[in-house]
């Protein structure tokens, strides 16, 4: 009889596998594929990004939207490949920083955690302000409410409270709502795009392809902003413990999110360019590009609906980004890098309550400070997304560096993984450098916020090394297999 048959009837004892994972407290293996997909899609917020990002990219790159989007798509797909090396092999609520710690050690892991926290937090802030602003635009268009910074601030607080309630209840409901909202919004967007394209002349239709290349600085900076349209796709990894069959679900989710949103962005960018030429609209830095486009195409009602869809998409983005952020903070709490209290989970709902109680107030507070400081909501959003992009790209670079090191450590490195990840790391480092220079030249406020974050992170690092050496040494905890997962487990 074969060894396999024998093992089935008399399963071997497996050393080192216990009854409890270090991440116990969070739900385990209960969240299905659709909900995990909703997490990645929600955090990426394709409806909101497809609507607003062409305007933000155009600020940096002029009329070369499509080139920048394609470059960003390729780079992010490379990051997805590097992240996938980890998500096929381990389930970790801390996601990127846990992966980096496993590959190249806790110091790099700490930097990644900071990058991730900044990326998730600032994009959540971006989402909150964006949602408040979209609600305001919608109300103004139907003749209600005055637009002022105070109203936006009030909206941010109210929506922040909504986020907290939803996240405390558990991700399932919010995930489903997110997915429906995104699908409906993207469908509405496609209707608008087709309408616009059908009314644009041949001249306008060809214009986006005749744009030519911007200078190298503009190209790289535009690519960096375009990358922010894709960020969040990897947040499915933070549900590694909670997902059913995570080693299948999480990589598959990341792959499909990237493919679908990439096409949606290309179509949206192309249409906004063509429509802009056709109706004589200025695209760059235009916060109401879609409303203007729908007015120009003679379907103003669609524009109003899109404002509403955009508002919900922004809110979904905030919720999904906070979901990932809370799990990073939770994981750091379990390791002892952050105070243990943030590793506390709600015993009834199995959600990371301790972490949520910290991250939601912070995410509400900073936008209020910016608005109180006299920034317009649109301006505040472009500052927030710039800082977020820096955090994300830092984390992505480190993951690309860590993946081959990790594979080498466990004896599974292949040549293609080494070269692929290496190329992504080099290219993204270049993008980060140029982006910082461009942001420094055009947006000193964003750069100084980055500076504040770097100083804060640096002192945090020193504090943890000196005062919490055990926590630092424990970094890299993940959701280990338990005896139930094994043949013969109960």
């Amino acid at each position: 009889m074969s060894a396999l048959d024998r093992a089935i009837v008399d399963p071997p004892r497996v050393a080192g596998v216990g009854e409890r994972s270090p991440m116990a407290g969070l739900e385990r293996r209960t969240v299905g594929f659709v909900d995990v997909l909703a997490q990645s899609v929600g955090a990426t917020a394709p409806a909101a990004a497809a609507a607003t990002l062409p305007a933000l990219i155009a600020v940096r790159s002029g009329h070369s939207l499509l080139v920048c989007l394609v470059l960003a798509w390729v780079l992010v797909a490379g990051v997805g490949g590097a992240v996938g090396q980890f998500t096929r092999r381990m389930a970790a609520p801390g996601s990127l920083y846990t992966f980096v710690t496993k590959g190249i050690g806790p110091s790099a892991g700490f930097v990644t955690a900071a990058g991730q926290a900044v990326g998730y937090a600032f994009v959540a802030m971006f989402g909150l302000v964006g949602a408040a602003l979209s609600v305001q635009t919608f109300l103004a268009s139907v003749g209600a409410a005055a637009s002022s910074a105070a109203v936006t601030g009030l909206g941010v607080v109210a929506l922040g409270a909504v986020c907290f309630v939803v996240l405390r209840r558990g991700i399932r409901i919010s995930a489903r709502v997110t997915l429906v909202v995104e699908v409906v919004s993207v469908a509405l967007l496609l209707v608008l795009l087709v309408t616009v394209l059908s009314r644009a002349g041949a001249e306008a239709l060809a214009a986006p392809f005749r744009a030519g290349l911007p200078g190298p600085d503009g190209l790289v900076a535009g690519t960096a902003v375009a990358i922010t349209a894709f960020v969040g796709f990897e947040t499915a990894a933070s549900l590694g413990r909670e997902a059913e069959r995570p080693f299948l679900t999480v990589p598959r989710t990341m792959r499909w999110t990237l493919i679908v949103v990439g096409f949606a962005y290309l179509l949206s960018a192309y249409t906004q360019e063509a429509g802009g030429v056709s109706f004589g609209l200025q695209l760059a830095d235009n916060d109401v590009a879609l409303s203007a486009l729908s007015d120009g195409a003679g379907v103003p009602l669609l524009g109003r609906l899109l404002d509403l869809g955009q508002a919900t998409s922004f809110l979904a983005c905030a919720i999904a980004s906070l979901t990932a952020l809370a799990r990073v903070v939770f994981s750091l709490g379990r390791e002892g890098v952050l105070p243990r209290a943030v590793g506390f989970t709600d015993p009834l709902r199995s959600t990371p309550l301790g972490a949520l109680a910290v991250v939601v107030p912070v995410t509400v507070a900073l936008p209020l400070v910016l608005l109180a400081g006299g920034l317009s909501p649109w301006r505040a959003m472009s500052v927030l997304i710039a800082v977020s992009a820096v955090g994300y790209i830092v984390a992505y670079v480190l993951v690309a560096v860590a993946a081959p090191a990790f594979l080498h450590r466990i004896g599974e490195l292949t040549r293609s993984a080494l070269w692929g990840c290496g190329a992504v790391a080099v290219a993204l480092t270049g993008v980060l450098g140029v982006y910082l220079a461009v942001v420094g030249g055009t947006d000193p406020l964003a750069l100084s916020l980055v500076g504040v974050v770097v100083l804060g992170g640096g002192s945090g690092y020193l504090y943890v090394r000196m005062r919490q050496p055990e926590g630092f040494a424990r970094m890299g905890l993940f959701d280990e297999p338990i005896s139930d997962d094994l043949l013969g487990g109960r």
């Binding site: 396999l4 089935i8 008399d10 596998v17 004896g411 280990e480 013969g488």
Partner: protein, 219 residues
């Protein structure tokens, strides 16, 4: 694996590779690495990594906390009901029970068609190479030599004892069908002092032998 290399031939090949990976993990025991699997099976490394990751995705394999070692996953039991015939599974269950209970090497041999064939050797009490050879030289191994004597024994003996070597020996119990034909034998490999009370030793396994008889002579 048709020589023409048609598309239809590829999938079964992948399935066979996947099963051989599971078999290798079962054989080597928990903790075997992907590199070791690839070396043991002679599969290309990239192929092996892809296979183990697929098997982990479907939870047939579990990646252990060190992230480099593997163990069989809970879904392997799904294979059992289909892949392993009931008779083999029940036999293996009885032997596993005996091995857990008795301080002795427990080996099962088949005598179908008059040939002695070792069907299930206790992995914790390996036999010598000679005993495992084809055809087996069973007499050369003190742990199984009694099995060789069974064939020569009369049709009524329930067990035979063989102290082949000072200090070490075996007891073999006969499994007969209703006509009294020898179907199989179970050997207990034990230190010689325990063979001084063969009836007591046989009493330990009497019920198991009856159950084996029921399983092996069924239909």
């Amino acid at each position: 694996m048709s020589p023409g290399g048609d598309a239809g031939g590829r999938q079964p090949h992948a399935v066979r590779s996947a099963l051989s990976v599971l078999e290798e993990v079962a054989r080597a025991g928990p903790g075997i690495t992907a590199k070791q699997i690839s070396a043991a099976l002679g599969l290309p490394r990239a192929t092996t990594y892809r296979l183990v990751n697929l098997l982990v995705q479907d939870e047939y394999l579990v990646r252990l906390p060190d992230l480099s070692g593997f163990a069989l996953g809970h879904r392997v039991t799904l294979l059992a009901s289909n892949a392993v015939p009931d008779r083999e599974r029940e036999t293996a269950e009885i032997l596993a029970g005996m091995r857990a209970r008795i301080r002795a090497g427990v080996h099962l041999a088949s005598f179908r068609h008059g040939h002695l064939e070792l069907v299930d050797v206790d992995p914790d009490f390996p036999l010598t190479a000679a005993a495992l050879a084809e055809p087996p030289e069973i007499g050369a191994d003190p742990g199984a030599a009694a099995l060789g004597l069974l064939r020569a024994a009369g049709a009524v003996e329930r067990y035979v004892v063989c102290a082949a070597q000072p200090g070490y020996g075996s007891l073999a119990a006969a499994v007969r069908d209703d006509a009294g034909v020898l179907v199989a034998g179970v050997a207990l490999a034990v230190p010689a002092p325990r063979l001084e009370d063969p009836a007591g030793l046989f009493a330990l396994i009497h019920d198991d032998v009856e159950r084996l008889r029921a399983v092996l002579t069924r239909g």
